[in-house]
Amino acid sequence: ISKGKKTRYITFPGDVLKNLTDSELAENYLKRFGYLNTEHRSGFQSMVSTDKALKRMQRQLGLEETGQLDRATLEAMKQPRCGVPDVAN
């Protein structure tokens, strides 16, 4: 490998792009696994806040309940897992 060349990141053709920001990743995760319900059955917006949803997620996964998108929480969100929601809708 030739030395001294700076690494650059590229977009690989056919790659499933997951280059989300941390907050996008968290929001997607919380929605996908049922922590952040965006709608009630009646159609009204839910009042579940992100920090409450984070706490629920942290409790479910046995993490420290900070309600913050801390490093441990982000790492947990990136782990391979089952696609069944943690909180039933």
């Binding site: 650059r8 280059n19 696609g83």
Partner: protein, 573 residues
């Protein structure tokens, strides 16, 4: 553990499943085996049985798919979501789907089962040595037909044991060609192909024709993945090409350069910059067995657990051995009850017959005349004869009768009339449905007549036909180091001694708590009995400590006054 809302569960215990398709990552036999073992995990601890169907609608339909695979919950490429399953019910409910953008293995790298050769289908042994060189993957070295092979022992040079690795040149799976090998080149829609292709398909699976023209013959099969091929990317199923050029640099192994996620990749041609063909390198992969066992938990009615060590915890981790946690077992047994009864065995009738006439002592009888034996007892499997048991799970007195428990069955010796001999076997599950097959100890509280059963770290309490439990023995105040309660001994009213290992504790039955001052050493209080007795019980005012076939009997002055055989003295065999 958690269950789905309304405790969704199957309304029958004989659950069926069907494997709809296979992943190219592993031999179909390995996949079938992984699924069967995953079901066994649950059937080992519950009354459920699983039967595989090969057509029609099964309760649990199992399939592999990528991204949008026909339900409202698409997969997301490699890593991330691995699989999902639906709770019990009709149609899609109960089904389990596995993301085929993952690399499915047994959890520790490519699981390569061989075909042909002389190793009888054994798994490849990596690394192996061939002509002094070490190989960590299948190789075509030493062959002129380009078929990949491997040694099934560490040293081919010494053992000469080998088999062929998955290759489209050897076989295909699925499709309509009965597993025939690819024929290259083949023609598809007027184009000629000299390797497997995903053209013409939207699901990303690589296929080939098994004759020279798909257009003419319509015969095809799916290509198995080689252990050296990439997953994902845009060259799924092709091998890495080393060395390759990327961004002007030359690489002779997989790299994470160019990626922000640290995943290893390679080019499948000599120059990525020119050809842009790439894929992820084979890694440890995900254990299909573990993921399937988890998904089948959903398909049986369990939601995610928040116990990190539980199989039903949502995040994947590789573990060896039996994957269920106490929490998983309690969950499945909450839904379906415990496992009772022995493994199914074909019934073998035992008959007690009148003797055939002896021609010497009964000369009047025609010796060759066929005689019909007279059956005098009901059919009993000899394996279920109490007199054939070397050792019982537990022995205790219930309703004044000595009860002998073994593997979901029990026998009883009627009190005061031992001439009748032992009665049984009877089914534990019929009389005490919640109690699991293996009972480590049991006792009947003399005051309340409640019967306590201990199995592992849990216990159940029965009042007549009504059972409560399981509860953890920790709730009684036993330490979490106690893995089972091996004996129980009434000591006056409301107190019971519980034995485990070399210790015993005193339980206040009314308070449901261990008294202060315990544990104590068994040999201090009960000198002269084995320290590893597995059954302790009181019978006719005397205490019995059993080990294997023998018992040590202790009188009221705590003197061992007899050592004898359980079989002859207690069972009257």
């Amino acid at each position: 553990y958690q269950t789905f809302a309304g405790d969704l569960k199957w309304d029958h215990n004989d659950v069926t499943y069907r494997v709809l398709n296979y992943s190219p990552d592993m031999d179909s036999a390995l996949i079938d085996d992984a699924f069967a073992r995953a079901f066994k995990v649950w059937s080992d601890v519950s009354p459920l049985t699983f039967t595989r169907l090969f057509d029609g609608e099964a309760d649990i339909m199992i399939s592999f798919g990528r991204a949008d695979h026909g339900d409202p919950f698409p997969f997301d490429g490699k890593d991330g979501l691995l699989a999902h399953a639906y709770p019990p019910g009709e149609g899609l409910q109960g089904d389990a789907h596995f993301d085929d953008d993952e690399f499915w293995t047994l959890g520790k790298g490519p699981a390569v089962k061989t075909r042909y050769g002389n190793a009888n289908g054994a798994m490849c042994h990596f690394p192996f040595t061939f002509e002094g060189t070490s190989y960590t993957s299948c190789t075509t070295e030493g062959r002129t037909d380009n078929l990949p092979w491997c040694s099934t022992t560490a040293n081919y040079d010494k053992d000469k044991m080998y088999g062929f690795c998955p290759s489209e040149l050897l076989y295909t799976f699925g499709g309509n060609a009965d597993g025939a090998a690819c024929v290259f080149p083949f023609v598809f829609l007027g184009e000629e192909y000299d390797s497997c292709t995903t053209e013409g398909r939207s699901d990303g699976y690589r296929w080939c024709a098994t004759t020279s023209s798909f257009d003419n013959d319509q015969k095809f099969g799916f290509c198995p993945s080689r252990d050296t091929t990439v997953t994902g990317g845009n060259a799924e199923g092709e091998p890495c090409h080393f060395p390759f050029v990327f961004d002007g640099r030359t690489y002779s192994s997989c790299t994470s350069e160019g990626r922000g996620d640290g995943k290893l990749w390679c080019s499948t041609t000599d120059n990525y910059d020119d050809d842009k063909k790439w894929g992820f390198c084979p890694d440890q992969g995900y254990s299909l067995f573990l993921v399937a066992a988890h998904e089948f938990g959903h398909a049986l009615g369990l939601e995610h657990s928040n116990i990190r060590e539980a199989l039903m915890y949502p995040i994947y981790r590789y573990i060896e051995g039996f994957p269920l946690n106490k929490d998983d077992i309690e969950g499945i047994q909450y839904l379906y009850g415990g496992r009772t009864g022995p493994d199914p065995t074909p019934p073998r009738p035992r008959t007690t017959t009148t003797p055939f006439p002896d021609p010497e002592t009964d000369p009047t009888e025609e010796p060759t005349k066929p005689t019909t034996p007279t059956t005098t007892t009901r059919p009993v499997d000899p394996a279920q004869d109490a007199c054939q048991m070397d050792k019982f799970d537990t022995i205790t007195v219930i309703e004044g009768e000595l009860h002998f428990f073994k593997d979901g069955l029990y026998w009883k010796m009627p009190s005061g009339s031992s001439d009748k001999g032992v009665m049984g076997p009877f089914s534990v599950s019929e009389r005490w449905p919640a109690v699991p097959a293996v009972v480590d100890s049991a006792f009947e509280d003399v005051l309340t007549k409640k019967v306590y059963f201990f199995s592992g770290t849990r216990f159940w309490v029965y009042t007549g036909e009504n059972g409560l439990g399981p509860r953890s023995i920790e709730k009684l105040g036993l330490p979490n180091t106690v893995q089972k309660v091996e004996g129980a001994l009434q000591r006056g009213k409301g107190k019971v001694l519980l034995f485990s290992g070399e210790n015993f504790w005193r339980l206040d039955v009314k308070a449901q708590k261990i008294d202060a001052g315990y544990p104590r050493f068994t040999d201090v209080m009960f000198g002269g009995v084995p320290s590893d007795a597995h059954d302790v019980f009181q019978y006719k005012g005397q205490i019995y400590f059993c080990r294997d076939r023998f018992y040590w009997r202790m009188n009221s002055r705590r003197q061992v006054d007899r050592v004898g055989y359980v079989k002859y003295d207690l069972l009257k065999c």
